[in-house]
């Protein structure tokens, strides 16, 4: 599904440049649930941004579902993001003045799906995350866990190939974190490919594979026995 070869990325900080990713080789098959771990500054967020086409790579190649991601202009990148990727952020990033349902419907709106179908679909996804009754509420009226579940519904609404989650539980207490992880595991069970950036080992253990990053290189890449989150809920 994801195929990365010899990925390099550096940032210019004034006169000196900071080499963040130093030759990453990495691939993810369909249906995997991968945790990307590492301390801060290890390059894990940069990797996720490049995977999410929010940032461009300096060197190397990136294939997503057989499509080479290269030389994208903003319009094309937006189109690919919409079609291939679903984002889940640490700070939820819901749009404040739109209701839960409208938030979920946004990616569909950008695909020019008709209003009625959009509403039906977003209700369906809200139902999957158990928030059907909250469809008309604004994000400010929801708890943190609920917000993240709306964000997950939104990420899934466009039926992307890959879900990218950047510290999805970073702003949540552990009970809510496990609920969210339970949801993510269920989505993965349904066959979706998911990448999670986290620095919490217990969250990483709930994935099927852990990739350790350190100073811009992969130091460890191992398959693990998944811990089911449902036992903590």
């Amino acid at each position: 599904m994801i195929e990365i070869k010899n990925l390099h990325k550096s940032y210019k900080m004034g006169s000196n440049s900071l080499h963040v990713l130093k030759g990453i080789n990495f691939s993810v098959a369909e249906g995997e649930l991968v945790a990307i771990m590492g301390s801060s500054g290890s390059g894990k967020s940069t990797l996720l941004n490049i995977l999410g086409m929010l940032d461009v790579l300096d060197e190397g190649s990136y294939n997503l579902d057989g499509v080479p991601i290269v030389d994208l202009n903003e319009t094309k990148a937006a189109q690919y993001r919409n079609k291939f990727l679903g984002f889940i952020f640490q700070s939820f990033n819901l749009i404040n003045y739109k209701s839960a349902m409208e938030n979920v419907a946004l990616p569909l709106y950008y695909q020019k799906v008709a209003r009625k179908e959009r509403e039906e679909k977003s209700i369906k996804y809200l139902e999957q995350v158990g928030l059907k009754e909250w469809a008309g509420h604004l994000p400010s009226e929801l708890s943190g866990g609920q917000k993240q579940r709306v964000a997950i519904a939104r990420a899934m609404a466009a039926e992307p190939k890959v879900l990218l989650a950047d510290e999805p539980t970073g702003a949540l207490d552990s009970k809510t974190s496990y609920e969210v992880m339970d949801l993510i595991q269920k989505i993965n069970d349904a066959g979706n490919t998911i990448l999670i950036v986290t620095h919490e080992p217990d969250i990483a253990d709930m994935c099927k594979r852990i990739v350790h990053l350190k100073d811009g290189v992969i130091v460890e890449d191992k398959k693990v026995d998944q811990v089911r989150a449902s036992q903590y809920v």
Binding site: T75, A78, N82, N93, I95, Y97, L106, Y110, R154
Partner: protein
Amino acid sequence: MFNKDRWKEILEVLTTNWFRTVLTAFGVFWGILILIILLAAGKGLENGVKSDFGDSATNTMFVWSRNTTKAYKGLPKGRRFRFKLKDVAAIKESFPDLKFVSPRNQLGGFGGANNVVRGLNTGAYNVYGDYPETIQQDPMLMTSGRFINYSDINEKRKIAIIGEGVKRGLYSKGETVIGSYIKIQGVNFMVVGTYKKKNTNGEEGEKEIFVPFTAFSQAFNRANNVGWMAITANDGTSITSLKEDIVALLKEKRKVHPDDKRAVGYFDLYEEYNKIESLFGALKFIAYFVGVLVLLSGIIGVSNIMLIVVKERTKEIGIRRALGENPWSIKVQILMESLFLTLISGMAGIVFGALFVYGINTLLDANGPVDMFLNPSIGIGVVIVALIILIISGLLAGFIPANSAVKVKPIDALRSE
């Protein structure tokens, strides 16, 4: 562009901070209001001044003879000469672009002695010997009877058309005017019509008596002399372009030295009218200039607020781009918000300006006419121009903010808190 979601969002954004939106809108409102009021005031002044011209044929010049100041062909300088009727024919023949050439003779004048008698009433009036065309050059409203016609001219009928002012001076109320006789310098004329002037200021214009040119010449011994002429050109030709040639022709016919600048006097009504026209052109330009400048400060206000809105929404824009919104769509969104705000406030300005002008008109109507000011108004053309200005300025106001909105990389936008 006209989808419901987009409009919903525009309204949501603009109504989140009502006070700010209204303040911003006020700048544009005020600019367009000033523009409308200035234009309406200019139009009112124009209408007022132009009503003094009334329906006069403005493409007209007047020529009269004076004393020569140069000796020519054995004739001395200081000679008094008069135009002749054949000069009129010569002008008509040489200048096919002329509509009317009306020779006129005149008795009386400002401060003249009493020259008209009817029974025991006397009065001092201007008496003109005229051709039927006069009524088209200097419009009058016939209140009874008729004006001079060519039978009168050919048969030298001694008839007179008198103004309402003359009627008031010579007749008592309710007396029959038509068919009665008045004595002008001892000669009897039958009154066949009365008139009112359309463009009169006061009654001076109605204290005039018109009689057929031929009858006038015969009665007052003018032979075939012509006192002065009113010459009107066809609509396509300006009299100003012909006047030099006409004057030159007259000089030649009357044996006046071609360089004698003072022998033939003339007044070019068209030129005067054009001067006033260009004055109002300039006024209109100033109105647009000032109005647009005031509007500009409003537009800058809109642009400023849109920049702030974009800044406030940077994160939201980042989210939307991460979710796959086309940058162009974001640009259109910002542009439409700016356009919508500008148009709504501008339209409010137009409506308010129109109401203001309406109020002024009502006041003017209620309090009677004011000198040099009449019926201030704004045409649909002005409204359309104002709307076009608004659309352009709304787009301009949104342009910079829209660009800055899409210039931010989605990743930076997401990071901003």
